[in-house]
Symmetry: C2
Subunit: 108 residues, 2 copies
């Protein structure tokens, strides 16, 4: 079965939504910390434009990454696990075949 056709029970949807929101929150916390760190180090105008480029990239990346689409959830979670934004344990309660797929994809 194609991962985009997986069925998600009501409970699984709740778990998935909570995990998704948690990963997003962590991503944003990391982003804010990174911006604060970069701003402390600003001394010349090139540092300002470098921060601008960084924010342009991050905004584009985050806009794409946090699209909560059921068909893509397995890939989305695999990405979160790979990036250290989510631990597999935080997806406990999902069907084990989904967890196996997520864990496998996170290794790529």
């Amino acid at each position: 079965m194609n991962v985009s056709e997986l069925e998600w029970t009501g409970t699984e949807q709740q778990i998935a939504k909570a995990a998704f929101d948690r990963a997003y929150q962590r991503e944003i916390e990391r982003l804010i910390e990174s911006v604060q760190g970069q701003v402390r180090a600003i001394s010349v105008v090139e540092d300002v434009w470098r921060l601008h480029d960084f924010l342009s990239t991050k905004r584009h990346e985050i806009d794409g990454k946090y699209d909560y689409e059921h068909a893509a959830l397995i890939f989305t979670f695999a990405g979160f696990v790979k990036d250290g934004l989510l631990h597999l344990d935080e997806l406990a309660g999902l069907e084990s075949s989904k967890l196996t797929k997520i864990a496998a994809l996170a290794r790529f």
Copy 2:
């Protein structure tokens, strides 16, 4: 005579270049201070994207404003004076007709 056809002596060019660089330096100092102030106030992701929008606007504005083109210098300096980036005194040494034009345009 059209302002874009004004002649600039060697001394005037030196004065103009130094004043131009001074205004640019002040603009950048203001920009860095503003970024630092905004970053101190960041708490949610919308604040980060607001900073990004601000930097996009500023970068575009500064790229256009600090184009050192002889034909446009009178207008450029008038803009600096108007924005408080340069004082008329800092242009002392330029031909008085140029100073009059700059002062007049800065009032618009």
